[in-house]
């Protein structure tokens, strides 16, 4: 069994629909740690030692957040800036995150076709997420294909429910080591339809 840690960040949780549902699903999973960062650090004072201990004590680190202006909420950035200290996360032979897994669970307002060379966002979603990918690489972590939900404002609740259910399977598979990690790394994005769960 792997120890899974979900970091959730949404500055306007009360306006959220997709992420709220995803968060509830994450919390329903047993033996999974879920941290609501804006609730934990409303004044942005990250407890670096505490967070580094948390990272040490888990094998899979999942960041769940809405994409806004092509990036994560600012608290995630603050968290990474302070917690991924030199000597702890990188720059040392025995860096603490080596061989751990990093994953993202993100949502966007734009549709999948918006995020393409012909769409109005010009670039595919993965391009906007390269900072996270490289962060994982520098920390010697395995970076999974992001678990993504497009068109968060559109009324397509049937699919949302499927996406949320699948999120539960995604997390529990990570915990139970039934997710095909190699396959998950090789994908471009993950969603309810292509989740590479073994067996």
């Amino acid at each position: 069994m792997k120890r899974v840690l979900v970091y959730y960040a949404h500055p306007a949780h009360r306006f959220s629909r997709v992420n709220k549902a995803l968060l509830d699903m994450a919390k329903d999973q047993t033996n999974v740690t879920v941290i609501d960062l804006y609730e934990e650090y409303p004044r942005f004072r990250i407890d670096i030692d505490k967070e580094q201990d948390r990272l040490r004590n888990h094998d899979v680190i999942l960041f769940q957040f809405p994409i806004y202006w092509y990036s994560s909420p600012s608290l995630i950035k603050e968290f990474l800036d302070l917690t991924l200290e030199h000597g702890f996360a990188y720059g040392a032979p025995d860096a603490a995150l080596t061989n751990k897994i990093m994953g993202l669970a993100v949502s966007t307002a734009g549709t999948e076709s918006d995020y393409s060379e012909t769409g109005y966002q010009t670039y595919p979603l993965r391009t906007f997420l390269t900072p996270f990918e490289q962060t994982a690489r520098l920390c010697n972590m395995t970076f999974l294909a992001p678990y993504a939900y497009f068109g968060a404002h559109a009324e397509q609740d049937g699919f949302l429910n499927e996406h949320v259910q699948s999120y539960g399977r995604f997390i529990s598979a990570l915990r139970d080591e039934t997710l095909d990690i190699d396959a998950a790394c090789a994908l471009d994005l993950m969603n309810a339809t292509n989740l590479p769960v073994k067996g």
Binding site: R14, S16, E39, P42, Y68, S107, A109
Partner: protein, 637 residues
């Protein structure tokens, strides 16, 4: 009685008129007083005033000044100065005496008279030099410290001089004196009117003398605190002044009784008290007395110039004076080379100490009384001493205008070691000021804390906080605490009225100082604003707001939302206060202040939606994240 009032009025009026004029002309207060003295001298002689005895009385100002100097000087600092004190001071006195003696002998005086003249003229004027250095803020400069070392050594050297001089009496003068009964030599305040020691054997005298010094030190260290605590319990301000005066006078008396210099005694007491938390209080209590007495002293020096005699011997007196100044300057320049006083300060030091001093007057009357120097010579020397003192401010001006700028331009001046700069004064160390002090100290800032509660100070001492006793709203105490070169003042006292007055005083007299003030309530904010403060912190506002935030959180609002609501609330509230404050007029009651009432109405209208409880609909996050109001999605959730 009328005489006394008349005389007081005359002295005060002369000072009040002359000093501001002199200051405005950039001549310094000392020259102002001296000129005032010269101006009133015809009146004084018409009234048959005994200027000399007033001068002796006023010399007590010097004693007080040394007490104050001692207060500024921690024992550790004094110890660090020891080589300068003995080396620089000792050589200045020794070399100058020998040089003057040699010159006097060249002019046909006996060695005894020469030596006596040397002693008289070797001493400089503590009063003028320290007063001027303080006024110019040069006390802590290299030159100031060197000057102080020499002056202190001279003060100590007076004691053996007074002992040696009687041994050098001229037999023919003694004989002459035995015929005259009227011996007017009041031994001055450095002589001994009552001599406790006369009948004691020498070894016992030594023990008594040491014992007296020991008494001053131990009483200063051990008794001051309980005594001031006791006095503080009465809660009367003037009692502090009385206690401080009593201490200084008492020490001076004790020293006089055992034949030591009172100035030295009070200086030692000052050093002992330099670490005490009552230091600033003592300073501000004694300071006005010192100032007044020194003023009177300088006036008497001016008034004491015997003009008929001066004009009779004008050229010889002027020549002697200039010769003396040149000689002393030369000696000092050579010494400052040896002791490595830096370039610009060397001149400050050498020109500053080039005059003869008030101890010269004392020694002169003493030498005449003891038949060491013939009266005719003494009278001329008296003129030399007075004239050299009169010329000192001119020498300081020379230094200021000609020498100092040259060194500054040459860039040779090393940066001054101003250890106390960037100071933060915290007035009031209760629940409010205490936290400010803790936080600032914790982040590495040097603070000076003032508080008027002895029990509070008692507690602070236990925690190693440097705090001083005193009512911080008094300008003189602020002054003593170093407001002149402070960078910031934090008014944390809880008396509304006093806080406002303090802000007003400091803002108007020291506009460069940053002021942060504690306000009791909203109206107090307006008052402080009117007094000139712009950084005003309401004492309970932040804690109330935090309590409200906790309430929101416990009612289920997300912490980040609660935080943003609170920040919005604070911003709006401060906005209202900022809008209102300029319309407040301390002289008009709020409800009669038309502008303020209008502004209030206007703001109320603007805030109506907020008052109706719609604040949460319009917080910072909702502007970015509430997509329900949008026609077309542009961003993501």
């Amino acid at each position: 009685m009328t005489d006394f009032l008349m005389l007081s009025f005359l002295f005060l009026a002369a000072g009040v008129i002359a000093v501001p004029v002199a200051s405005r002309l950039g001549l310094g207060s000392v020259l102002g007083y001296l000129l005032a003295g010269i101006a009133i001298s015809p009146l004084l002689s018409a009234l048959h005033v005994d200027v000399v005895s007033i001068q002796h009385f006023a010399e007590f100002g010097v004693v007080m000044m040394l007490f104050l100097v001692g207060l500024e000087l921690e024992p550790k600092m004094l110890w660090q100065m020891r080589s300068k004190l003995l080396g620089l001071g000792g050589l200045q006195v020794g070399v100058t005496i020998v040089a003057i003696m040699a010159i006097a002998m060249m002019f046909g005086q006996t060695w005894r008279v020469g030596l006596a003249i040397g002693m008289v003229l070797a001493l400089s004027s503590t009063a003028i030099v320290l007063q001027t250095l303080n006024e110019k803020g040069l006390m802590k400069s290299d030159g100031g410290q060197a000057s102080f070392s020499v002056l202190l050594f001279q003060d100590i050297a007076v004691i053996p001089m007074l002992a040696i001089l009687p041994l050098m009496a001229l037999p023919e003068l003694v004989e002459l004196a035995s015929h005259t009964t009227n011996d007017h030599a009041g031994a001055g305040d450095h002589g001994t009117d009552i001599d406790l020691m006369g009948n004691l054997p020498a070894w016992l005298q030594g023990i008594v003398t040491l014992g007296a010094v020991g008494l001053v030190i131990s009483a200063g260290a051990l008794l001051t605190r309980p005594m001031f605590n006791f006095v503080a319990s009465a809660g009367l301000r003037e009692l502090f002044t009385a206690t401080a005066l009593m201490m200084v006078v008492g020490i001076a008396l004790l020293m006089t009784l055992v034949g030591l210099s009172p100035a030295l005694g009070t200086f030692i007491a000052g050093v002992v008290l330099a670490n005490s938390e009552y230091r600033h209080e003592l300073e501000s209590d004694i300071d006005p007395f010192k100032g007044l007495l020194l003023g009177v002293f300088f006036i008497t020096v001016g008034a004491g110039v015997n003009f008929p005699l001066l004009f009779e011997n004008l050229w010889s007196v002027v020549a002697m004076t200039l010769g003396l100044i040149a000689l002393k300057t030369t000696v000092l320049i050579v010494l400052s080379k040896i002791f490595g006083v830096n370039a610009g300060d060397k001149w400050l030091f050498s020109l500053g100490l080039a005059q003869a001093g008030e101890f010269g007057f004392v020694l002169l009357s003493f030498t005449v009384a003891n038949h060491v120097i013939p009266k005719a010579i003494a009278d001329q020397l008296l003129l030399v001493v007075a004239l050299s003192m009169l010329l000192t401010p001119a020498l300081f001006i020379l230094y200021d205008r000609v020498i100092s700028p040259r060194y500054l331009r040459g860039g040779e001046q090393e940066p001054d070691e101003i250890t106390e700069k960037g100071k933060i004064i915290i007035a009031g160390h209760g629940r409010f000021g205490g936290i400010i002090n803790r936080l600032l100290s914790w982040s590495g800032h040097k603070t000076v804390v003032l508080d008027y509660s002895s029990s509070q100070l008692e507690m602070l001492r236990a925690f190693n906080v440097k705090a001083f006793y005193g009512d911080a709203s008094r300008p003189d105490l602020l002054h003593a605490a170093g407001i002149d070169d402070a960078e910031m003042l934090i008014v944390a006292i809880d008396d509304k009225q006093k806080a406002t007055e303090m802000v007003h005083y400091v803002h108007h007299n020291y506009p460069h100082i940053k002021i942060i003030a504690r306000a009791v309530d909203r109206q107090h904010v307006y008052e402080l604003y009117a007094a000139g403060c712009r950084e005003i912190i309401r004492e309970t506002f932040d804690s109330s707001v935090r309590a409200a935030r906790t309430a929101l959180e416990m009612l289920g609002t997300r912490k980040f939302d609660a935080e943003l609501i609170v920040q919005d609330f604070i911003e709006r509230d401060r906005h209202i206060i900022r809008e209102m404050a300029p319309h407040y007029d301390p002289d008009i009651p709020i409800h009669k202040n038309q502008a303020l009432v209008e502004k209030t109405k206007e703001l109320m209208k603007a805030q109506e939606s907020e008052l109706l409880g719609k604040a949460s609909a319009n917080t910072t996050t909702s502007r970015a994240w509430d997509f329900s109001k949008r026609t077309k999605p542009e961003s993501d959730d």
